[in-house]
């Protein structure tokens, strides 16, 4: 799979990735503007907005950080801010692990450096491509660079200009993520073997979303569901 020389040109793949991510990046943009507006209200300066969007580049962690941020530096809870970012982003352990097939064994460190630009949306688009036997480093980076530039630009716009959008969900834009993830999931269907991991993941996620606050449900559903899939696969193989 990954040992074959890719018959794709990097630039073609880069633009294909960027193009494929345009619809979902529109929603990212709406949330970027809103985050910029809220960041101003929470007391972040323009430089701090640029640094946080540019260096942290993780939407959900940045929204959580605004709840903890204080306008006076002496009372800024540095430890809790870092811990919250770690906890909210823990799911990325699972997401980037699945990108292994994109890199040759000798490219792993180069790959690790590229992982900074991965976000939920561009990850999802890329694994959707990979499930169809496509998906390349260029595709991942094309979507990633587009999402990065857009997030940077819109958070700055929100901070400096304010926004006419106060709540993207008023326009159904929050559902753009759910709809995209759902369609990508359906596109990944390969047969009955997917039924067990998907159902177990959905169930585990629904239960943990109800019981535990925060984004733990993604991590819990992802781990429990994928393990169930691997166990079911092993059991089927033993039965044959």
């Amino acid at each position: 799979m990954s040992t074959l020389a890719a018959p794709y040109r990097f630039s073609d793949q880069f633009f294909a990735g960027a193009r494929a991510c345009i619809p979902v990046v529109i929603s990212v943009a709406a949330y970027g503007v809103v985050w910029g507006v809220l960041a101003r209200g929470a007391g972040l300066s323009l430089i701090e907005v640029v640094l946080m969007s540019g260096l942290v580049f993780a939407g959900s962690a940045q929204f959580v950080a605004l709840d903890l941020w204080t306008a006076t530096p002496s009372s800024l809870p540095i430890g809790p801010l870092i811990l919250a970012a770690l906890i909210v982003n823990l799911r990325y352990l699972l997401l980037t692990a699945t990108l292994r097939p994109l890199f040759r064994p000798d490219q792993q460190w180069k790959g690790a450096l590229m992982m900074g630009i991965v976000s939920d949306e561009t990850w999802a688009m890329t694994v959707g491509e990979m499930a169809k036997g496509r998906g390349t480093i260029g595709f991942l980076l094309g979507g990633g660079v587009l999402a990065y530039c857009c997030w940077m630009a819109t958070t700055v716009i929100g901070h400096t200009l304010g926004s006419a959008i106060d709540d993207p969900s008023k326009y159904g834009l929050d559902f753009a993520f759910t709809a995209t993830f759902l369609a990508l999931l359906l596109g990944m269907w390969k047969g009955k073997g997917d039924l067990v991991p998907w159902l177990v993941a959905a169930l585990a996620a629904m239960v943990s979303a109800r019981l535990i606050e925060g984004s733990w449900y993604i991590l819990i559903g992802g781990i429990v569901g994928s393990l169930a899939g691997a166990v079911a696969e092993r059991l089927r193989k033993n039965a044959d």
């Binding site: 494929a20 619809p23 300066s45 701090e48 640094l51 946080m52 260096l55 942290v56 530096p73 800024l76 540095i78 801010l81 870092i82 970012a85 982003n89 990325y92 352990l93 997401l95 980037t96 692990a97 699945t98 990108l99 292994r100 792993q108 790959g111 900074g116 999802a124 694994v127 159904g172 559902f175 753009a176 759910t178 709809a179 995209t180 993830f181 759902l182 369609a183 990508l184 999931l185 359906l186 997917d194 991991p197 998907w198 177990v200 993941a201 959905a202 585990a204 996620a205 629904m206 979303a209 559903g221 992802g222 781990i223 429990v224 569901g225 994928s226 169930a228 899939g229 691997a230 092993r234």
Partner: protein, 102 residues
């Protein structure tokens, strides 16, 4: 006010832990065997994560989300294309929320 040492420290720390988990996932996966149980487990993660992202949003929201999800799935199965499925989902959830809230 431009920024403060405290704010810089907080942002640098957040950036560091975020990059560590993002890079860590790929590096840890590279240490796993390329066949057998571990490989099967990795193969099932994308579907399981996507199912986990979608499922709670459908049951904790109003019926609007469930209706919109059904339309999204239907449009995707018919067109096999992401954009119309997403657009239909957003449009239907917008209309359904207007209609349900009144």
């Amino acid at each position: 006010m431009l920024t403060s040492p405290e704010a810089l420290m907080a942002i640098a720390g957040m950036a560091l832990v975020t990059f560590m988990v993002k890079a860590g996932g790929l590096l840890l996966a590279n240490r796993l065997p390329r066949d057998g149980f571990a490989a099967a487990w990795l193969r099932h993660i994308p579907g399981a994560v996507l199912a986990s992202l979608v499922a709670p949003a459908l049951v904790t929201g109003s019926p609007a989300e469930a209706i919109a999800a059904a339309v999204t799935a239907l449009v995707y199965v018919i067109t096999r294309s992401l954009l119309p499925a997403m657009a239909a989902g957003v449009l239907v959830v917008y209309l359904a929320r207007l209609w349900l809230v009144g």
